[in-house]
């Protein structure tokens, strides 16, 4: 794997192989010494143009547990407002000898531009770009589902027939996009639930069912309910009247949670707005995978960095 930019161009075999490597990495996390020497002497730069402490420390932990040298480059705000272009930043990192760049950027496509521009030779991992994709989040979500469903027998398994309901701001969500493509590849059935204002205007080409009624989507007792974070700024953009109406109509409140089968997983990429898109009872229940998602995030990101930076560098993805 040369870069990890999108889940869309991962084949089923590649995705499962990555999840299987993540299983190996998870096994390492259970040892007393959690560190592998694999990427000793390699340099990974966390290039964050947008604040995201959670994602950054997850990548940082992953790289360090593989013994890579980690440089955190925080370029908050847009590159343009800082006066330095993405190109100059990339060339600076190239000059410093970065082997891998983990990039978080507010502009959709910025990781793609970085990977294809010729400005830098490093392998590029998309850690979230604008409203486009967040591939490692989708991979850790799939990993979490697989582990809950199959436990120690997860290796080699796909998600055939698993019914996943994703609820929230689909329009602006890179998590939703990456999940839709990856879950389709792994064989899951995806239903997206949102107010119509937060669904892209034409999703006819998406491998997912669109549903505006959360209760109807939950009626069949899906295997997974994934709640997305509602950003504060959406409340000022006339996407819905107010947070109370949103919580009442599209939130996983106590009542809706109580109706779900005990086997239904409740997922959230974090950080959560408790009481808005998800009730505390659901978030803290044994059905909630929120903390597992965080732990699995490190394993999945270790797998991604390992596949990108160790050994032969393959063709561009």
């Amino acid at each position: 794997m040369r870069h990890l930019l999108s889940t869309r161009d991962l084949s089923r075999d590649e995705a499962i192989a990555l999840l299987d490597v993540a299983e190996d990495m998870a096994a390492v996390q259970e040892r007393e010494v959690k560190k592998l020497p694999t990427l000793r002497g390699r340099t990974v730069v966390n290039l964050f143009f947008e604040d995201s402490t959670r994602t950054r420390i997850s990548f940082e932990a992953a790289a360090k547990r593989l013994s890579a040298d980690v440089i955190n480059f925080s370029a908050k705000g847009s590159s343009v407002s800082k006066g330095e272009s993405l190109k100059d930043t990339a060339q600076t990192l190239q000059a410093m000898g970065a082997d891998g760049v983990v990039i978080r950027h507010p502009s959709s496509g910025a990781p793609f531009t970085l990977a294809t521009s010729g400005w830098i030779d490093a392998g590029v991992v998309n850690a979230g770009d604008g409203t486009h994709e967040h591939p490692t989040q989708a991979l850790l979500d799939a990993f979490t589902m697989r582990r809950r469903l199959h436990g120690d027998a997860s290796r080699g398994r796909d998600l055939d027939g698993v019914r996943v309901v994703v609820v929230g701001d689909i329009l602006h969500s890179r998590v939703a996009r990456s999940n839709v493509w990856l879950l389709e590849t792994l064989g899951a059935d995806v239903t997206l639930v949102a107010p119509p204002t937060l669904v892209p205007v034409d999703v006819s080409g998406w491998p997912a069912t669109i549903e505006y009624d959360l209760d109807r989507a939950l009626a069949d007792g899906p295997d997974v309910v994934m709640m997305l974070r509602i950003q504060a700024e959406r409340m000022h953009g006339a996407f819905f009247p107010n947070s109370r109406e949103y919580a009442r109509t599209w939130g996983l409140d106590d009542h809706r949670f109580a109706q779900l089968p005990e086997t239904t997983m409740v997922m959230h990429p974090g950080p959560m707005n408790r009481g808005l898109e998800i009730a505390a009872r659901a978030a803290d229940s044994t059905q909630s995978t929120v903390r597992e998602q965080v732990a699995n995030g490190v394993s999945v990101r270790m797998a991604a960095l390992y596949l990108l930076l160790s050994g032969e560098r393959g063709e561009a993805r």
């Binding site: 847009s78 590159s79 343009v80 272009s85 993405l86 190109k87 950027h105 507010p106 502009s107 959709s108 496509g109 910025a110 793609f112 531009t113 294809t116 521009s117 770009d129 604008g130 409203t131 486009h132 994709e133 329009l171 890179r174 996009r177 892209p200 205007v201 034409d202 999703v203 006819s204 080409g205 998406w206």
Partner: protein, 448 residues
């Protein structure tokens, strides 16, 4: 170089073969011309002769943004593309919203000599959309402004638009509207549709263009004014304009070459060369625009030539500037989209790229038929040529062309402005030669 030129054996837009003698800034003879004493002979065997092309929508960037383009380099690009007149948009710095700025623009064009530079005046002060600029003063200035536009911004306030439409009737002016509903396009990055949703780029919906055009044609009808719609980009806009024309509303419309050829699919690689406003649309839109240009619903092709320095396009998509250079490639793109596809003939090309834009802009001395007594504004194009479009074809200061590396038909071989060659054998003539010839003509009182 001599001051008269005998173009030998050209094919006229009507298809006839003729010699054309240019002398004293006029077309002196058309037909079979015996050797004219002292005239330089230009072999035009196999070449189509068109009246010099007129672009109603050019960004020359001077004053203020000379790193992108100047009046000199922009009119050199015009000459390379077969244009003999360009209407210069008002979004310079300072904005062309006073008589002083438009007269400066006019003078720079006269000094360069490559093409007539006809300034467009801003509709509102500073393009801010708040109060009318001194439209009358610009109209009465030496630049004789007749086209007014806030291009880049929509004159969104309906009352201000109504007043502008009304006011310019006093001097037979026209408001050229950049139709873009600002609230519906906040942060917009590309055409809104299935692809924008996948790419995670904020959408620029067709309705944001169509709703403004619909409002404006109704306003134009109500106050009995003339409206011109810039860079129409959607099939729905075509329907609105068709309806307005059928109703007798005095509206004209332009389409850019890129909207006749390119589609939004090109955005998938996030290459900012394809970032433009209005954005590239769907194939259905391209087809509707071609049909509308062929049937006259859309009156003209205008380039929206928008030069930008390299750094403005070497970036992530959101940060990149909107716009493409278009003067040098326009005729080739129109040939591919309209002529080679069988939708139009060369007489139609002369109409949409010369006659009608000159008429909409009330520009004398341009867009005249190739006939005795017409101004010596002439373009010779080799329609049989076909080549990969490269930076060698770009004569302006910027290289943000979406066609680089693409095979395009046709090649402009020669351009004559006021009888002076600005392009010969496909090469732009030197600046000092053109400036001198232009100065001689101006001193002689033959201002075109």
């Amino acid at each position: 170089m001599s001051e008269s030129f005998l173009v030998r054996g050209a094919t006229l837009p009507t298809g006839e073969r003729a010699d054309i003698l240019l002398d004293g800034g006029r077309i002196a003879e058309v037909g079979t011309v015996a050797d004219a004493a002292g005239a330089t002979v230009v072999d035009a065997d196999g070449l189509v002769a068109l009246p010099g092309l007129v672009d109603l929508h050019t960004h020359l960037r001077e004053p203020g943004y000379e790193q992108s383009e100047t009046v000199l380099t922009g009119t050199q690009a015009a000459a390379a593309g077969g244009f003999t007149a360009v209407f210069a948009m008002a979004n310079t710095f300072p904005v062309a919203d006073t008589a002083g700025v438009v007269e400066q623009e006019l003078s720079l064009g006269e000094a360069a000599g490559y093409a007539t530079v006809q300034p467009i005046g801003a509709v509102t002060v500073g393009l801010k959309g708040e109060r009318l600029a001194e439209l009358g003063a610009m109209a009465a200035s030496r630049a004789r402004v007749r086209v007014f536009s806030d291009d880049g911004f929509c004159v969104f306030d309906p009352l201000l638009m109504r007043r502008a439409l009304e006011y310019v009737k006093a001097f037979d002016g026209v408001i050229a509207q950049h139709a873009q509903e600002p609230r519906l396009t906040q942060g917009a990055q590309m055409n809104e549709g299935a692809l924008s949703g996948e790419l995670g780029l904020a959408g620029w919906p067709a309705v944001a263009e169509e709703s403004i055009i619909a409002r404006d044609v109704l306003l134009a009808e109500h106050v009995g004014s003339r409206l011109h719609v810039c860079h129409v980009s959607t099939a729905g806009s075509v329907e609105v304009i068709r309806w307005a024309k059928a109703r007798g509303i005095d509206v004209t419309a332009e389409v850019t070459p890129h909207h006749l050829l390119l589609t939004e699919d090109l955005v998938a690689g996030y290459d900012p060369r394809y970032k433009v406003n209005p954005p590239l649309r769907r194939q259905e839109d391209v087809e509707a625009l071609r049909a509308a240009l062929a049937d006259g619903t859309i009156d003209i092709v205008a380039t929206d030539h928008a030069p930008h320095p390299v750094e403005a396009k070497e970036s992530e998509w959101d940060a990149a500037a909107n716009g493409m250079v278009g003067l040098e490639s326009a005729l080739s793109v129109v040939q591919q989209a309209m002529v080679d596809s069988g939708l139009m003939g060369w007489a139609d090309v002369a109409r949409v790229l010369s006659e009608t834009p000159a008429r909409i802009g009330r520009l004398a001395g341009h867009g005249e038929p190739i006939a005795v007594g017409s101004a010596a504004e002439l373009t010779l194009v080799d329609p049989a040529a076909s080549s990969e479009f490269g930076t060698d074809r770009l004569a302006g200061r910027s290289v943000n062309s979406p066609y680089l590396g693409r095979r395009l038909p046709g090649r402009v071989v020669a351009t004559f402005h006021r009888g002076v060659p600005t392009l010969l054998d496909g090469a732009v003539r030197p600046a000092d030669e053109v400036a001198e010839a232009s100065a001689r003509l101006t001193d002689g009182g033959a201002r075109g």
